[in-house]
Symmetry: D2
Subunit: 351 residues, 4 copies
């Protein structure tokens, strides 16, 4: 493994450390690797070493390239300096993707606490969006952000349809950065149809990093699941970005939006409620819905109300409803072909 | 293991099945066991067998007694019939606690989907509150509840300070009962200071039960962490209610409220912000806060603002601040003694 | 779940308890379930309740049917009474397979301690062999068996080519039934080409059952991996017997013999060393071996000795060598077709 | 993290790579770290990169320092060159322990395949013994070793009472290095009273390294538990060498010998059989054994034979028997005081 240390901004003391693993040769099926860019926490006052290497090692072991950004702190942390540092780092990584053995479109940002605030801003308001974001006990709301840096923005309010999928974890009893921060962010993700996974553990202190005994005071009361976020976030990344396969990286198993309503063109992965509002799509659904609905209702017993059924089907995707109604795959593909030609104009207006 | 089948309400076809394990004899240290009461899902139209025994077995294996309630369905599901069924079952279990080898104050309710709605109502609005609740892809909001049963209430709106600790899990992409339901509920728990743990998995269908291949169609796309909720909920129950120890059940590791602000009397586990609003408590804190504050600030570097520090300390508990400031344990105990004599009058008014 | 209690032998106080789960209806893809037959331990003096239900529940949760055999004890334990009890139980289960919703050829025996001795005997010397055996801290050697029952045979010496695949676990520091017992058994399995998995954990007491706090004195020093055998044995059973799939039980992933040398006919899964000893098979291998060998050697660098290479290839299967040498799949199939016609006469003589 | 590259022997192309993490400062309770020395595999022809960094990262994440030794290969691999390389590396690490932030007596060696042979030799015949050894699908027997290097010794035959505790893992179906190698080694460890843990997984290819998708061809059939050895070996190391605690490394939970029979002086951790053979110890045991025996027998029911009981107690430690007989702790301590003064003369003769 090769280590590189790069100064990004001498005046503000910003630097990027790279841990780069080989590609090719004995790693026959690996011509490029996904990467993580780690943003340690420390209240925009320090960058905690407990949230650098211990986290990087886990992703390196899983085959990723790893970067650590020491961003602007203290007096230099005035907004948008830290975000500029991120933009510079991400640009540099993407520019050197080939040289450094990196998949340009498989770069996740990982941030803890104040670094989680920066990572959430990267995910929701940067020009160089990451492809996934892992947020550990992040600072999100303006109220919490201002505790540490008076100029820092609210990250939840910035969430838009281009926000990348997020993995959010925290403890319920965190009193340094209250759990409300994480809840507020996943709520914003839900409202914007963004894919996410979140784990709120019952109890434990702020700043637990990987929860290994070597980084967390072992006398600190912490619930037994906390350390799981490391392996779980790797499992999630592999589902979101693809995994190492015999012929390079495999296809992702999970899409960036919870359903197709946010894509540029319509599809059978849009919800029925959304499609029915579209003048071009509505006639295509036609009679199909009737039979699928009856099938569904009968599965649940005869007494489910017609109104209930209709409300429920609003949030189902067309694909789900058709599969439930045992509509043949070819018919679904035919319909998909037609829908895929309809531009999703309401997109920008989505909630 | 003994199996009992009890009819609770012949007219509405309500019944309670009990799986009861031995106490004493070879289980020398077990005179009574914690218990779970399972409320299967099925849209208030059926009670799904896929959410009965497979779930019960996991808790039985961990040493719990297990009950399954077949509550009022279809035309009988008009509110508050299902909740009455729950009340009757819980009353019966507590009345027979000694006979059936059960710890009267360690009974958790587990509900899936519509059963999760009923469990959430049990947790937040019943007369016979459970001691913990595990909610799987629950129906929560009025909007979702009315899809299945037009008279069912919104469970999140009912959350109060007596709501029991909750473990909530769901998948992000559930289109039958949208994830918004789970999010709304944990938000209500957060607002009322209730302990909780929550796991929102990236993707997977509604109604996955234990996610074992024997209950979930193995072709269904589902993310790799989903099956974890079973073991995780058991770990959580042991932290909330205590575990089997050499001399009976051990002391819980996690409290029912995230901090002491909701208890009947003040304590060092109240947040500093809360204590400072109390005329009797404020003078007791006095000079202590100053030194703890300085300590904290210096840990983060000298540039953290005084205002930021003060806002952050509002949400810390007094115990945390004092421990961080390395105040001796005896001094903390002395303070605790004094605070414990002050009635927590604002309690009823707590949002 | 239905519970049945059947007396098998009134005089010797032998009984069989059945826990039977439903098939069909909501479990649409399940017309029959694999099963486990549990043989609790207790030195042929008692049948420990700590090794009955807690173990049964784990397999029930995974979708299996479960049986518990209370076999002959004390004065009735004189050999072969306990083995006769097993034979009677297994015969009964197979005879009622259809009625009880069981896959007749997917029945595993699970034994602990003295019950592990009985399970090992069932695996290696019974008339009604199980399809897999899980042996927990088993008594194996004559020396150990005679501690408990003077007439009990050595189970390792009985291992033959028809012994079923085994999963063996124990702790290194067990002083009641020394770990030598488990080692002796897996050595016998290795010598007879039988598939197995084994986990010897660093330390822990005898008789830990599932290692749940409800069955194991929580003050007892026990290493952190011990409880894993439960989930691991279920994972192993699914690989050996198949798992629940959309159209019934899937094909096993692991074969009953470590290679094809023990089967009734030759195959490309026989080792090269074995095939080369066969007058009919040898000419079929011919030139192929040369090129595969050269390929293999070049992978390791040029300096590997010709003799070393030849010795190593003795233990490789023909399929492995051909795949390594990138011989096309069709060529391998062709060869398989020819080998499959050659009876494996040496079979009975195998070591 | 600092990376160092050191040439140990230019002529034979031997080098040591060090990955060194910080001690002190933010890692307040860490003044020195345990370490691992990794010996990659490759048939003494190459050193496989797939078994270097991916393995190192796992232990680094857990807080360990990590070293990788590129030892003598090909023509240079003639014995004892590779062992000399190991001795030189271990000596250098111990000499620089303070400078590099390492606990001098907590250094484990990790070897894979041929590197596993070298690690097993380090554990059993080196002058600079490691404190623990992790052996992955190791080459052990002379027969297997000679496949790769004709001068390499049999590692199992060298096992002595000073062999360090070992963690051994392999797959049952490994045809490159047959599982017999691992079995032979753990049998030798058992015979010499050495602590060990071993995991033989049902199936999988040779050389799976960490079994991450980035190092193992994901199309290769491999059983689901294989990847566990990484986390399990870390858990084991923590039990054998101690874990990070509030005041430095904690006390180990597991001893290097399975019982006290191999130590320099007698103790209550010796087996009763061993103590009874000692003329000085025997009188100290006296009447105690009688009552403990009766207690034990009555626990099992009255029919256990006196002879059986006596044989069983031979292999129990005195401490276990006394605790089982509920002898008070002070009496045990008194006895321990007396035994600890008796030199364990038979020691050198212990098989």
């Amino acid at each position: 493994m090769e280590t590189k240390y790069m100064t990004l901004n001498q005046e503000r003391n910003v630097s990027l450390t790279a841990y780069l693993q080989k590609t090719g040769s004995e790693f026959t099926n690996i011509s490029a690797r996904p990467a993580v860019l780690i943003l340690p926490g420390g209240g925009y006052q320090i960058c905690s070493e407990r949230e650098m290497d211990p986290a990087a090692m886990a992703y390196l072991k899983a085959g990723y390239q790893a970067f650590i950004l020491r961003y602007s702190l203290g007096e230099h942390a005035v907004w948008p300096n830290p975000l500029k540092d991120y933009e510079q780092a991400m640009r540099m990584i993407r520019e050197h993707a080939e040289e450094w053995g990196i998949c340009r479109d498989k770069i996740a940002v990982i941030g803890f606490s104040a670094g989680g605030h920066l990572a959430a801003c990267a995910a929701s308001m940067s020009e160089n969006r990451p492809d996934a974001a892992i947020l550990g006990y992040p600072v999100i709301t303006e109220e919490s952000a201002h505790v540490w840096e008076r100029t820092a923005p609210d990250a939840a309010k910035a969430v838009d349809r281009n926000t990348c999928p997020c993995f959010v974890f925290a403890t319920r009893t965190d009193s340094t950065v209250p759990v409300k921060n994480s809840l507020r962010f996943i709520q914003a993700l839900e409202e914007h149809n963004i894919s996410f996974e979140s784990h709120i553990y019952a109890y434990g202190p702020h700043g637990f990093s990987t929860a290994d005994a070597s980084v967390l005071d072992p006398q600190m009361p912490v619930c037994g699941r906390v350390h799981r976020w490391v392996a779980d976030s790797i499992g999630w990344l592999k589902e979101m970005l693809g995994d190492f396969g015999p012929d390079g990286i495999t296809k992702p198993l999970c899409k960036r939006w919870a359903n197709g309503n946010s894509a540029d063109y319509l599809s059978v992965d849009c919800t029925i409620g959304y499609l029915m509002q579209n003048r071009q799509a509505r006639p295509l659904l036609g009679g199909m819905m009737g039979s699928a609905g009856k099938q569904e209702a009968s599965g649940m017993g005869s007494s489910m109300s017609q109104e209930g059924m209709e409300v429920m089907m609003q949030s189902m995707t067309l694909r789900e409803a058709l599969q439930y109604g045992q509509v043949p795959a070819e018919t679904i593909e035919l319909l998909q072909g037609k829908l895929a030609r309809i531009e999703n104009r309401q997109n920008g207006l989505l909630r």
